[in-house]
Symmetry: C2
Subunit: 214 residues, 2 copies
DNA sequence: CCCTAAGTTGAGGTGGCTATCAACTTAGAA
DNA sequence: TTCTAAGTTGATAGCCACCTCAACTTAGGG
């Protein structure tokens, strides 16, 4: 690849990182091209489309953030504290970075690397959940497939309140977490989603234009 | 008004009712005009714009549904049962009628009648909450201003899962409700939104094009 | 320094939606 | 029946976003 082409790839990646973060993964690609100082055509030449751009930009960011959260969560002595800390950190990320919020609550069909990282993350969460279950600190009927409810909720609350009450999600999350302790448990009216359903639903979300996005 | 004009108003209102219900209050107005068998121009002639159309079509529907839910809720002997029944019915409406889902979780600046009805409904909910508080059956720190969190959550879950797991919201709601019992309560990290913040946020949501779209 | 493959550009086609308006049609009173 | 105010229409302009491509520019090897 020629030097100028490589330079443009880098500029585009940087711009995409910034703009995705500010406006979510549905941000107009033209905006990104403009921020990178190139034309939209170049963006398509270099990346081919939105999903490929996402897959070029997001995985590293997401993996780093998610890994750090996991490290901190696993450092907690109490499994419940670990579980809730992880969720809180995840929501914090969602609140400060719309790109992460989208990456974590949707799936983009052609962003393979990103999907793998998200799957890996889910496995990590399964571990946290298992530990909390084993310690009797998390209601037994909560499964990893229920996690998306939390992510969708936070993502919605965050987007709705970001400009007017940026900490509102903490309150909403606290209500939810209080429902996840064993003592709070009452029989649930429906079984959890299957992993396939979760995947399919998240793909649907990623395929829709405009999300809740600007 | 001429007879044909009145007839068109009726056709448009009927079509709007149907299409809003299926696709939400962001449905393309052209679609509605087409379903009514008139041109888009006529829709604008008769109603002037989306908000006016919403305000012409939705208030009666919403009021009827909300009133019935309130009647049934107030018929419950236990205030907690009343409160949760009301929320469940509200969510059921959201699940079966995207228009109601939008009407209840957003505000449209120029839909005055609808806004009044939503405000009135909020007052009813305040009553339910007060009774449940008085009976010690609802955690004391839950306020009417926290209700939107539930509505936003359900609205998101319903839209995401409608086509693949139409009952998923029941499980998500159950987790949430389990967090609202007094026994589940742990200190909350942030104060509730003010009524003004809730209003402003809901207006923002209504003003965005495409919501979770289609 | 020249030449060409690699790369960029920006204009333009596509599509979806909103909103308006001059030209046409029609209800219904006189 | 006639006439006109009321009403409808379809074309159109404006947005915004996606995506493509022929024409142009340039890096960098020979």
């Amino acid at each position: 690849m020629r030097r100028d082409a490589r330079r443009n790839v880098e500029r585009l990646a940087t711009a995409a990182g910034q703009i995705f973060r500010e406006r979510g993964l549905d941000a107009p690609l033209e905006e990104i091209a403009k921020a990178a100082g190139v034309s939209a055509g170049t963006l398509y030449n270099r990346f081919g489309g939105r999903d490929a751009l996402i897959d070029a930009v997001m995985p590293d960011v997401v993996e780093a953030k998610v890994r750090e959260a996991m490290v901190r969560a696993e450092a907690e002595a109490d499994p419940w504290d670990g579980f809730t800390l992880y969720l809180t950190l995840l929501c914090e990320m969602q609140a400060t970075d719309l790109a992460v919020s989208d990456a974590v609550s949707r799936r983009y069909a052609d962003a393979k690397r990103l999907n793998e990282i998200c799957e890996a993350q889910m496995d990590g969460v399964r571990g946290l959940i298992a530990k909390a279950h084993a310690a009797g600190r998390l209601r037994a009927d909560f499964t990893a497939e229920d996690l998306p409810y939390l992510l969708w909720t936070t993502s919605t609350v965050v987007r709705a309140t970001a400009s007017r009450a940026p900490d509102a999600w903490r309150r909403a999350l606290a209500f939810t977490l209080d429902g996840l302790r064993p003592a709070a448990a009452h029989p649930l009216p429906a079984p959890p989603l299957t992993a396939e359903q979760v995947h399919a639903v998240m793909l649907d979300l990623g395929a829709k234009r405009s999300g809740q996005g600007r």
